[in-house]
Amino acid sequence: MVSGLINANPTVYEKKERRVRSFISNADEYAVEPIDQQEVFDHVRDIKDPEHPYSLEELKVITEDAIEVDDEHSYVRVTFTPTVEHCSMATVIGLCLRVKLMRSLPMRYKVDIRVAPGTHATEAAVNKQLNDKERVAAALENPNLVDMVDECLAPTYG
């Protein structure tokens, strides 16, 4: 597809320490526990970058702070930061995030995915495409693209 790497030498950051999710000891164990920022982050942090053997967390494409969750209104917004401004992999990364959250979150959830403002040359076009569910549906019927996404989501990494 692409000859040569888009970003040959990405900066790799340290992974965030994995926190044990805290529970209130005397709470009703059957009570519905709302989905929070940390839980959503845990779903996406280990997604592999399409061209490097690093996770989106290690490349700081995704941080916990870039995830907004409103469980009451069943809403999540993920803002990711491509490693370079002209990253042609931005839509693939966005697609991976969308697929992972589609598979992980309850179906009542609405998910918006966008590029961090000012971090991509064609930010508006990437955002529009990632949030057009018809185009996403068509993309996910493309076997090559699905292979690429599945590889990034493979549990062997992280």
Partner: protein, 352 residues
């Protein structure tokens, strides 16, 4: 319309139709059913690559799946449309083809396949007489096909002009004027001064610079008279347009559509579908799982006609509402389709 202002109305669910195994994108009521003792019939299409035909049993009142049209499309079926006579069903698919189906002795058979688009076909529509069919695609083009004897379809025009993915095509309810709406945020109007010449041209582009939408235009629909049009968009608005169609009908040339009003502040997420009933009620289906109804309001005649929300049905579905369509027939029913894999049939009932 006066009575609508005085009473309180609700959308009452009659039945949920289950059977599709993926999101249901769209549906079409058969125009020759639902009156004169003919039970109402509709077709629905889905990401599961099938089309289902549903009919209301007149004695039990229950809707049953009469047929599953499968093994023809190899990808999502995005859109379906009955010919005006109700004899043929056209289905548009992401597999880049459009199929034509005929009910032969109770079985639906694929009698023709229309090929030519480079990739996903997004929408299909028949003109009022059933002589022309339009399709549109992610390849940015709109095709006009002529129905020939023996279920043959000949492409008479390939219309280029949209800069992006074309989401929907729709013919004017009485005249051979074609409308297309697109991911490029515009609505284009296609017209042939002399239909027999097949000299179709874009006669108007409605974009943001002339009060049009600022994001993807997903759908449009006409009122019964055909002099008003409503469009819906990813920009979270509905827009109402009007045109002097008597000028066109009297042969004085093309009459452009003018912006009448914008309904903003009602929707929180993308509006995928809009449909205008013969009684003048506009239904919208959106990505916030709700169905809303709008009617013309007589309150603000000084600034010209305006529209107000008649009701909002929250959680009409468990997921995005992809399509809303009013039925033909004496007492219109509303049908909606959703990402939750179901079709719901609704009745507009008075709460008083």
């Amino acid at each position: 319309m006066e009575f609508l202002e005085e009473a309180n109305y609700q959308l009452k669910e009659i039945q949920t139709l289950e059977g599709h195994t993926d999101r249901v994108w769209s549906l079409a009521w058969n125009p020759s059913t639902g009156r004169d003792g003919v039970p109402p019939l509709l077709a629905s299409c889905s990401g599961d690559k099938t089309v289902r035909i549903w009919e209301r049993n007149l004695s039990s009142g229950s809707w049953d799946c009469k047929a599953v049209l499968d093994e023809t499309h190899t990808r999502t079926v995005r859109s379906c449309a009955w010919s005006p006579s109700g004899k043929l069903l056209a289905t548009a698919s992401f597999d880049a083809t459009t199929a034509i189906w005929e009910n032969i002795g109770g079985d639906y058979e694929c009698v023709s396949t229309l090929e030519g688009h480079e990739n996903e076909v997004k929408s299909v529509a028949w003109n009022a007489s059933g002589s022309l069919l339009a399709t549109c695609s992610r390849d940015k083009s709109v095709w006009i096909w002529e129905a020939m004897p023996g279920n043959e379809f000949e492409c008479v025009s390939v219309l280029q002009g949209h800069a992006q993915d074309v989401k929907m095509v729709q013919w004017h309810p009485t005249m051979d004027v074609l409308f297309s709406c697109s991911y490029d945020n515009t609505i284009k109007v296609w017209w042939a001064e002399d239909v027999d010449s097949d000299n179709w041209q874009c006669v108007q582009t409605i974009g943001e610079s002339n009060n049009g939408h600022s994001s993807t235009v997903w759908a449009l629909s006409f009122n019964a008279e055909g002099d008003k049009m409503v469009s819906c968009s990813d920009d979270l608005t509905l827009k109402i347009w009007e045109a002097d169609i008597t000028r066109m009908q009297s042969g004085d040339g093309y009459a452009p559509w003018r912006h009448m009003c914008t309904l903003s502040g009602y929707h929180d997420r993308t509006i995928f579908s809009v449909h205008w009933s013969r009684e003048g009620i506009i239904a919208s289906g959106a990505a916030d799982d709700a169905v809303r109804l709008f009617v013309e309001s007589k309150d603000a005649l000084i600034d010209g006609p305006s529209y107000k929300m008649l009701l909002k049905k929250e959680k009409a579905h468990d997921m995005d509402v992809n399509s809303v369509q009013w039925s033909p027939g004496e007492r219109p029913l509303l049908a909606s389709t959703s990402d939750d894999g179901t079709i719901k049939i609704w009745e507009l009932a008075s709460t008083l």
